[in-house]
């Protein structure tokens, strides 16, 4: 109850498929860019259910679901996490009903 939640979470899938597509490098790069950033936390996530579209990154509570993320996209995602604009080009592709479910899970505290 007294734990201070970070204002913004950057969740990077670390499941088998996303890892095979380079999600380990993505999370390290994001951690590097965002280390020491006030109110932002980079966290591994177990699975967003969109393996074929991975690596997947979710910025919460902004409800941004980024798929097919490459190392070249990391700067833009980090910028978003710092309060910049969302990265629209990465928001295509993932099934809207799955996105809705993921955000509902996160809203229910399943972070």
């Amino acid at each position: 109850m007294f734990e201070q939640e970070k204002a913004r979470l950057v969740l990077v899938c670390q499941n088998v498929d996303c890892l095979a597509r380079g999600a380990d490098k993505i999370i390290r790069a994001l951690e590097e860019r965002l280390s020491g950033e006030e109110g932002v936390e980079v966290k591994p996530y177990m699975c967003f259910g969109a393996c074929q579209d991975g690596p997947n990154v979710v910025v919460y509570p902004d409800r941004a679901f980024y798929s097919h993320v490459q190392l070249a996209d990391v700067d833009d995602i980090a910028n978003h996490a710092k309060g910049g604009p969302a990265v629209q080009r990465l928001e295509e592709g993932v099934d809207p009903s799955l996105k809705a479910l993921i955000f509902e899970l996160l809203d229910a505290g399943l972070v």
Binding site: N15, V16, D17, M46, C47, F48, G49, A50, C51, Q52, S97, L98, L101, E104, L105, D107, A108, G109, L110
Partner: protein, 421 residues
């Protein structure tokens, strides 16, 4: 009610070759292959109403018919002993103690569908079972039952052993086909089903060990005799594995239609220390929980389905009062998350999310809203995988939530019962 046994017929340990032959073993095989026709064997199995004992209860005759009617130069039959259902021991028990019964069933299946290659696919950890089968194969070859001219007929049949990995999905029929082809033992997308396109794309019948062990008696004594045991919908007998927490753990063969109470009280002796019964998981970790009033249900596929559960492959677990059902479903969720093979995104997602929700519940960190996500996660995943594993985590969890809400409520961080922590 006839309490006749079909499978566990030996009173004195493992059934030896000579004893099996003396009791009519291999008569069905010899007569079928020398005097009979494949269609006769097939017709007998169709008429018997035998259903698969691996968990899905698919009509065996139908599966054989599909393979028999699919034109192909080469066909295969596989005895599926890839059993890795938690708590199940019955296939292993049959292989170790009745190898000839299983083998004769496999030979008859091969003859009925026109296959000349048969494979015994057996969990690699079942070393005693493998040894029993090796010996049975040697004895059957020496007796002329197996070979290029089986029993002196012009029917050629070769049989070999294939070691199955001990993962859960390795017991799925198309995963068995993959493993036999030398690929990782993971399920294939279906259709096509193995009966039309299995090993090397050829028709392949994959039958569970217990299923095949029923076949020799059916062919020898006839479908009408088999149907005199059990119920109309579920003819014959079934093996039930009752291992945990009861006074007399064991593997029991009972005719379908026997009340569950008979298995629980007369066979297993009830719970150890006479503890009162809280819950029953009648068909392994993918079945729904039932409450003690289910003891009056007849052991029958349909009756258990109508009661919101399933007989599965007959692994019965009885839970005493005082059991925390959150612990039980957490363990089941851990199992499915571990055994999901990783091929299907929705299955990975479902099994891991359900596990995460239950871990948070157990840790006292979940809200009622988090727990309510269970149904949505299951709904999102239903039927979205290549095999049935994706549909398995749902029934135990949703039934536990329905029948034992207070077990969950006391862990919730809000909206819990008056006893909330």
């Amino acid at each position: 009610m006839s309490m006749e046994r079909i499978l566990l017929t030996s009173e004195a340990g493992p059934e030896r070759f000579a004893d099996y032959e003396r009791q009519g073993g291999y008569t069905a095989w010899r007569r079928a292959v020398t005097e009979g026709r494949p269609e006769q064997v097939l017709a007998e199995i169709v008429a018997s109403g035998l259903r698969g004992r691996g968990g899905a209860a698919f009509p065996v005759g139908k599966k054989w018919q599909i393979a028999a009617e699919t034109p192909a130069e080469h066909k295969y039959v596989v005895c599926n002993g890839g059993e890795d259902e938690p708590g199940s021991r019955k296939d292993r028990f049959l292989l170790e103690n009745y190898p000839h019964k299983v083998l004769e069933g496999l030979l008859l299946a091969a003859y009925a569908v026109g296959a000349h290659e048969a494979i015994l696919y057996v969990n690699h950890q079942y070393q005693q079972a493998q040894a029993a089968l090796e010996q049975a194969l040697a004895e059957a070859r020496a007796a002329g039952y197996i070979g290029p001219r089986a029993c002196g007929s012009d029917f050629a049949i070769a049989v070999r052993l294939h070691a199955a990995p001990s993962t859960y999905v390795a017991g799925e029929d198309s995963a068995a086909v993959n493993s036999i082809e030398g690929q990782p033992a993971k399920p294939r997308q279906k259709p096509p089903y193995p009966a039309t396109a299995g090993i090397h794309g050829r028709p392949t019948v994959v039958n569970n060990v217990e299923t095949l062990a029923n076949v020799p008696a059916i062919v020898r004594r006839g479908a009408a005799w088999f149907r005199s045991i059990g119920t109309t919908n579920s003819p014959g007998t079934m093996l039930f594995t009752v291992l945990e927490g009861v006074k007399r753990p064991g593997i029991y063969e009972l005719p379908f239609g026997t009340p569950l109470r008979y298995l629980y009280e007369a066979c297993a002796g009830g719970l150890a220390d006479d503890r009162p019964l809280k819950a029953i998981l009648p068909g392994g970790p993918s079945s729904g929980f039932l409450t003690p009033d289910a003891l009056d249900l007849p052991l029958d596929y349909q009756a258990f389905r109508e009661a919101g559960s399933a007989l599965g492959c007959g692994v019965m677990t009885f839970y005493p009062e005082g059991t925390d059902m959150v612990d039980v479903v957490l363990q089941i969720a851990e199992f499915f998350a571990r055994e999901s093979c990783g091929q299907c995104p929705k299955c990975q997602f479902e099994t891991q999310q359900l596990l995460r929700i239950l871990q948070l519940v157990k840790a006292g960190k979940a809200t009622r809203a988090a727990l309510a996500m269970v149904d949505k996660v299951i709904e999102q995943s239903r039927g979205q995988g290549w095999c049935s594993l994706i549909n398995m985590p749902g029934p135990p969890l949703t039934s536990a939530l329905r029948l034992f809400p207070e077990d969950f409520a006391r862990y919730l961080t809000n909206g819990g019962s008056p006893a909330a922590r």
